[in-house]
């Protein structure tokens, strides 16, 4: 789950990490009000959860309270990569001498967290890795020892710092690690971490992605994800509530399957035969009829979907349950769109019988089914 910049900055500030002083506004008049409490010049930043906000024109500058109000109005009426801007963060502009990078993420091979720092910041870490790989300092964190000030100072020395700045950076890095642990973050970044002209360090931007699987320990964020503003589409929210893994894609062929790997391979096979998947939807293992029906309803609700491919390989999932779910959904919402069904595995014969008797044709090969659904999406069937 991605946090907004303002949420991330509030967390950092509460943990003693300096951030630029700022406040949130959801209307131009509120922007004026909060700007009057801050010192100009200002930076006005659109609060959206998509990357590349700066390049898309989501960060503006203002020298006066009036201008801040105007720029806020501009942002609040614009869309960034299709996402409407609902709030802006207005902050005091800092005098930056140098932009750095510091973040913590997971290291799959070492089965640990890894701290990453760079004396070059302000662009995506992958870009830094391509343009200045020698500047990147990686420190795998031993899970049993944790990450302490002295580890952090070692990294700061490698970044070229000394004296008081060494202790300042050490403290900031160590605190960021504490935030990472306390909030179950899978990624936490200060990018840029600004060195000001006075030689102080300030998190000019902050990004936190929480581990979805740990949200049971952070109920307030789970609530925000499901009920409030989030990066999820309506279909994705509906799926999350029902414990289904759904991802909206650009195409016109709806896909439902069991098991993430199988569903991914199904999308790939559709693409291989020249079709375009409209979504990823994994019903998981052992899905009962009701869950299949909900899945179908979600996919049907996407207006771009022209045809649906249901690919089930029954291990713990029972084909007869799937068949009943399909018929249940069809009875409730009407079979408005053509479906291609591939059903093999546990209770396969019973599943096929149920569907065939209801006039639904069932295929056995994933490739044949993929070719068929691509054809239907192109020519509208038959």
């Amino acid at each position: 789950m991605k946090l907004f910049e303002y949420e991330a900055k509030n967390i950092l500030e509460n943990h003693g990490i300096p951030t630029s002083r700022g406040m949130l506004a959801t209307s131009p008049s509120q922007a004026k009000e909060v700007a009057s409490k801050l010192k100009p010049p200002f930076v006005v930043k659109a609060q959206v959860l998509v990357a590349g906000r700066g390049k898309a024109g989501g960060i503006l500058f203002a020298d006066s309270i009036e201008q801040a109000e105007k720029e806020a109005e501009k942002l609040l009426t614009m869309q960034i990569k299709g996402i409407p801007v609902k709030s802006v963060w207005i902050e005091e502009k800092i005098q930056i001498k140098k932009e750095l990078y510091f973040g913590i993420t997971t290291d799959r091979f070492n089965q640990s967290y890894v701290a990453i720092a760079s004396a070059v910041g302000g662009m995506e870490i992958e870009e830094i890795a391509t343009e200045a790989p020698e500047k990147i300092i990686r420190f795998p964190i031993n899970p049993q020892h944790g990450f302490h000030s002295f580890h952090a100072r070692q990294m700061a020395i490698k970044m070229g710092y000394s004296g008081n700045q060494l202790s300042d950076l050490g403290r900031i890095f160590e605190r960021l690690y504490c935030v990472c642990m306390d909030y179950d973050a899978e990624l936490i970044e200060m990018n840029p971490l600004a060195e000001t002209v006075e030689g102080k360090f300030v998190a000019a931007d902050a990004r936190i992605i929480l581990d979805d699987n740990a949200l049971f320990r952070h109920q307030e964020y789970k609530k925000r994800l499901l009920e409030g503003e989030s990066e999820l589409t309506p279909q994705e929210v509906e799926a999350t509530k029902n414990d289904l893994a759904y991802v909206k894609l650009d195409g016109d062929i709806g896909v439902i399957g069991n098991g993430a790997g199988l569903v991914m391979a199904t999308l790939d096979t559709i693409q291989y035969y020249g079709g375009k998947p409209a979504n990823f939807l994994d019903v998981g293992g052992g899905a009962p009829a009701e869950k299949i029906a909900i899945a179908l309803k979600i996919v049907f609700s996407d207006p771009k979907v022209k045809a649906i491919f249901i690919n089930i390989l029954g291990g713990i999932t029972r084909c007869d349950e799937v068949a009943r779910g399909i018929l249940e959904a069809r009875a409730k919402i009407g079979a408005t769109k053509p479906m291609v069904i591939r059903l093999v595995g546990t209770n396969e014969d019973e599943g096929k019988r149920i569907l065939t008797e209801a006039g639904v044709h069932v295929l056995e090969s994933m490739e044949e089914a993929a070719q068929r659904v691509v054809e239907i999406s192109r020519h509208g069937g038959k």
Partner: protein, 291 residues
């Protein structure tokens, strides 16, 4: 033969009284797996499918000389169960549970390293050595004894490919799922090393997916070691957009890292045959393994 588990494996089931634990205990017993005891705190001194249930791993291990464990405990408590097994001296642990927080998984793996234990998973279908032992939830009938080792990050996709191999009479030595999470116990390289030592295994299939760099590291290992057995691979997620999590917690492309293209390219340059579609895998192996 095969790797990690065989007919001498004596396993306990942690979370044996839950719906999944109980259901799969029955199937594992039917397959011939030696399930010697179960553990569910508070349900000690009961029985399920004639398997005695204990409150603690310590007691179950002591009374039945268990040397492996399979865990079905719900995510918030699964790490605790794994740590209990590790402290109890169990050296092979299969964690079926999905949705374990990353922080908990990292802690479990660190403890496992200290005591030299092998962890399979979390979020794995488990491991099967055909005709000997199954510690997992995979449908047994699609597997067949043979010479192909399978390593996968997926569940049902593994079944899809295993069933395809079996149809072509290409049996398997051991099939194991690494798990769909970002942090797992075994990785491709660890498992390739094990298959290298196993005389029964004549060829290896790797089933990877987007996210992380474990496939890339496996390709490097194969190239550097001049791996002595033929390897074929399939990578799921060619059509996945960046920044979106495709079902598995670990299946996500971050920026340019973890794409299917990167993995496929690395494999090809390491001399690994890469299948375009899941059902092309048997074809690639036919030439290496004669029956």
């Amino acid at each position: 033969m095969g790797i990690i588990i065989d007919k001498n494996t004596r396993a306990i089931v942690q979370g044996i009284t839950g719906a999944q634990g109980s259901f799969h205990t029955k199937l594992m017993l039917e397959y011939g797996t030696k399930i010697v005891a179960g553990v569910t705190p508070g349900k000690g001194k009961t029985q399920i499918h004639d398997v005695p249930v204990y409150d603690t791993v310590e007691e179950a291990k002591e009374k039945h000389s268990a040397n492996a464990s399979i865990i079905f405990v719900p995510a918030p408590f699964a790490a605790d169960s794994a740590l209990e097994a590790l402290e109890g001296g169990i050296k092979t642990i299969v964690i079926i549970t999905e949705h374990i927080p990353i922080k908990d998984a990292i802690n479990v793996m660190a403890c496992a390293k200290q005591v030299n234990a092998t962890i399979i998973g979390p979020n794995t279908p488990g491991i099967i050595t055909p005709r000997e032992s199954k510690l997992g939830i995979m449908p047994a009938h699609i597997f067949k004894l043979g010479n192909i080792g399978m390593i996968s990050r997926s569940g049902t996709l593994t079944y899809e490919i295993a069933a395809g191999l079996t149809r072509k009479n290409l049996g398997q030595s051991t099939c194991l799922g690494l798990g769909g999470d970002p942090i797992t116990g075994l990785n491709f390289v660890d498992t390739l090393k094990m298959f290298k030592q196993d005389p029964q295994t004549k060829a290896v299939v790797l089933i990877g997916e987007i996210g992380g760099n474990l496939e890339e590291l496996a390709a490097e290992y194969i190239a550097n070691e001049k791996y002595p057995k033929p390897v074929a691979a399939f990578i799921a997620g060619r059509s996945a957009p960046p920044g979106k999590r495709m079902g598995h917690a670990g299946a996500i492309v971050m920026g340019k890292a973890g794409t299917a293209e990167s993995k496929i390219e690395k494999f090809k340059s390491a001399g690994v045959e890469v299948a375009e579609k899941p059902n092309d895998v048997p074809e690639l192996l036919m030439k290496f393994v004669s029956n």
